[in-house]
């Protein structure tokens, strides 16, 4: 079912951040050499959730279009948990890259859909997207290093 409400979009954002944090925590346990980076990512995810919820709870009022600002299909952003068995480091990194691109897309689309309607909320999505985009070259560098 598509998501049209701001509360639905916030919940999806929280779900994506929590899921991807779990994924990075798992990677940090498996690959000691890059543990610090993965744990940093996981911690940042928690901060993003706080930042977005703060924006939402601070600005949500009846003057804004809380129930009509989005048209998101959650299936488009579903994170696939990578297969744990038989997967190598590069497989995980590729999954991480795909996951980051998907989450980035979510924030960009959500910000664009709500930009005239939800005041601080799309701004917080954009800010998080800007931060997350920095992860992609870092993950690509790890992938290159492993080749």
């Amino acid at each position: 079912m598509e998501i049209n409400t701001c509360s639905g979009a916030i919940s999806l954002s929280r779900e994506l951040e929590n899921e991807s944090a779990k994924f990075y925590e798992e990677l940090s346990k498996r690959y000691e050499q890059d543990k610090d980076l993965f744990l940093t990512f996981a911690r940042e995810n928690g901060k993003y959730v706080t930042q977005i919820e703060r924006a939402y709870y601070g600005v949500i009022t009846d003057a804004l279009e809380g129930c009509f600002a989005f048209d998101l299909n959650p299936e488009d952003y579903k994170i696939k948990t990578p297969p744990i068995k038989d997967a190598g480091y590069s497989d995980f990194l590729k999954e991480a890259l795909a996951m980051e691109e998907k989450i980035l897309k979510f924030y960009q689309v959500a910000a664009e859909q709500s930009k005239h309607l939800m005041a601080d909320v799309p701004r917080s999505f954009t800010l998080v997207a800007k931060k997350r985009i920095e992860r992609i070259p870092k993950l690509k560098a790890l992938l290159e290093k492993g080749k």
Binding site: M1, I3, N4, T5, C6, S7, G8, S11, Y57, G58, V59, I60, T61, D62, A63, L64, E65, G66, C67, F68, A69, H116, L117
Partner: protein, 496 residues
């Protein structure tokens, strides 16, 4: 999406809060029903005249000490209160959804707007400062002190059970008055919880009182000599013919915020993509049960191509609105408060058909998600070819019904708006600054929106209203509320 957890389990037996104590009524008890599920979630006391009098007397007794409590000390209690409201934000929001039926986004919006008023009233040490002139004549100084008056009655409506009493109560107590709040008996749970948090914040006994009930409580407030003023939000007939009139007869201050029939004026140069969701919020948000809701859509211009395309989009988005229990985050529109209100709205839809308006979207058989009983649901309804003479275009329906008018020019549109006896929250959607300026200048409306469908002022501004939408002089919220809850004492001083 999964349902959020309900904060009220079983049936909550609401009590009155008088003089710092929770007391049972000797009157009748009424069921509080969740309109989305049909389940009884609470019991509301229908208090007696003796009980409202006891609350007023307790408030009057608390007044001298509270008045002498310094503004800074009062403000500290309000800061604690604000903190508690933030801590309990989610619970307070979910209670509103349970007792009223609105969606969780709408309830959170209501909670935020309520808290904003507490936040603004925390600034009372500076907000209620007077002013001073030295040497108005040689050796003579003069100053004015805004002083509290005593006990105020606050009468809340059913459509914003949490927020609306907070348009008044925080300013009243911040300025040193005491309050007796009467919530709507249909939705008493939000004010019960709010009073618990007020108690926890540390308001002394008698400063903040809640007496539940109906007309007996209202009459008890209006007749009591120690009530110095009333704030009321509700229908125009009650506000004008009962509250305003009676306050005039008994010399009480009054703010009566009443009914509406708001026009949303669409210029052909509007940003259609952003305007359509704003109209959905305006007409169908809170299931149309708000005095700032759009009721009449007025499309300007003779360009049929624009009109047809625009209405196509309005009808399409309206028809896709998901209805159900507001604790499901996917839901965009909840039920109306009860079956009687639903029947009244259904009656207006029948009237519109008989009057000859074109029923573009029929909400009489709504599709409701999540297995909720249909008892209190009305779907989004759109009528076209509506004229000002029709009852659906002129009377307040208070439900999710959009009546569409057309006007050739902006001037004609303003004339149509101004011919309405109401003047609460008209709005224009345009990209043209000149049209916007002309509209805001010419339209007789207390709150005016420019590309805003729900013209709800934030707490630092007054919630205004004109014509049959408002009776009184000063308004709730912000500086006007501070003036309403204080009277000017002027001192002229000369030393021999």
């Amino acid at each position: 999406m999964a349902l959020l957890e309900e904060p009220i389990k079983g049936i909550k037996e609401v009590k009155n809060y008088i003089n710092g104590e929770w007391v049972d009524t000797k009157g009748k008890i009424m069921d509080v029903v969740n309109p989305a599920t049909g389940k009884v979630i609470g019991k509301c006391p229908i208090s007696t005249k003796e009980e409202i009098h006891a609350a007023v007397e307790a408030a009057q007794a608390a007044f001298p000490d509270w008045r002498r409590t310094t503004p800074l000390a009062r403000s500290r209690i309000l800061f604690r209160f604000k903190g508690l409201l933030e801590e309990n934000f989610e619970e307070l929001s979910r209670i509103q959804t349970m007792e009223h039926g609105k969606t969780i986004d709408e309830s959170r919006g209501e909670t935020r707007r309520g808290i904003e008023n507490v936040e603004v009233s925390c600034g009372i040490p500076t907000l209620m400062q007077g002013y001073y002139s030295e040497d108005i004549a040689t050796g003579i100084d003069e100053w004015v002190i805004p002083s509290p008056l005593g006990v105020f009655g606050i009468i809340g409506p059913f459509n914003f059970p949490f927020m609306i009493p907070l348009w008044s109560a925080p300013y009243a107590v911040a300025t040193g008055n005491c309050v007796v709040i009467k919530p709507s008996s249909e939705v008493p749970l939000s004010q019960w919880r709010l009073a618990e948090l007020a108690e926890e914040a540390g308001f002394p006994p008698g400063v903040w009182n809640v007496v539940n009930g109906g007309r007996t409580v209202v009459d008890g407030m209006l007749e009591h000599k120690d009530i110095v003023g009333i704030t009321f939000v509700g229908s125009t007939p009650t506000g004008r013919d009962v509250i305003y009139r009676k306050c005039g007869e008994t010399g009480k201050r009054v703010i009566a915020q009443c009914g509406a029939k708001n026009f949303m004026v669409i210029m052909p140069d509007c940003n259609v993509k952003a305007t359509i969701p704003a109209l959905m919020t305006s007409f169908f948000g809170n299931a149309g049960q708000r005095c700032l809701a759009g009721a009449n859509l007025l499309v300007v211009g003779e360009d049929n191509k624009f009109y047809n395309g625009f209405m196509e989009e309005v009808a399409a988005m309206s028809s896709r609105i998901k209805m159900g229990y507001g604790l499901d985050e996917a839901i965009q529109m909840g039920p109306v408060r009860d079956k009687e209100k639903r029947d009244k709205i259904m009656g207006y839809i029948e009237i519109g058909i008989k009057e000859g308006a074109k029923l573009r979207l029929d909400g009489r058989k709504p599709k409701v998600d999540g297995g909720c009983p249909e008892t209190c649901f009305v779907g989004p309804t759109v009528f076209e070819n509506v004229t000002p003479e029709m009852r659906i275009g002129s009377e307040e329906i208070f439900g999710p019904v959009m009546s569409v008018f057309r006007a050739k020019t902006l001037e004609e549109a303003v004339e149509i708006c101004n011919a309405s006896p109401f003047g609460n929250g008209h709005a224009i959607f345009t990209q043209n600054g000149r049209s916007a300026r002309e509209f805001q200048y010419s339209v007789t409306s207390g709150n005016v929106g420019i590309n805003i469908g729900i013209v709800a002022p934030v707490a630092i501004f007054p919630f205004s209203g004109m014509k049959d939408s408002f009776f009184g002089i000063l308004h709730t919220q912000g500086r006007e509320a501070v003036r309403f809850f204080t009277e000017s004492k002027v001192i002229i001083q000369r030393w021999f």
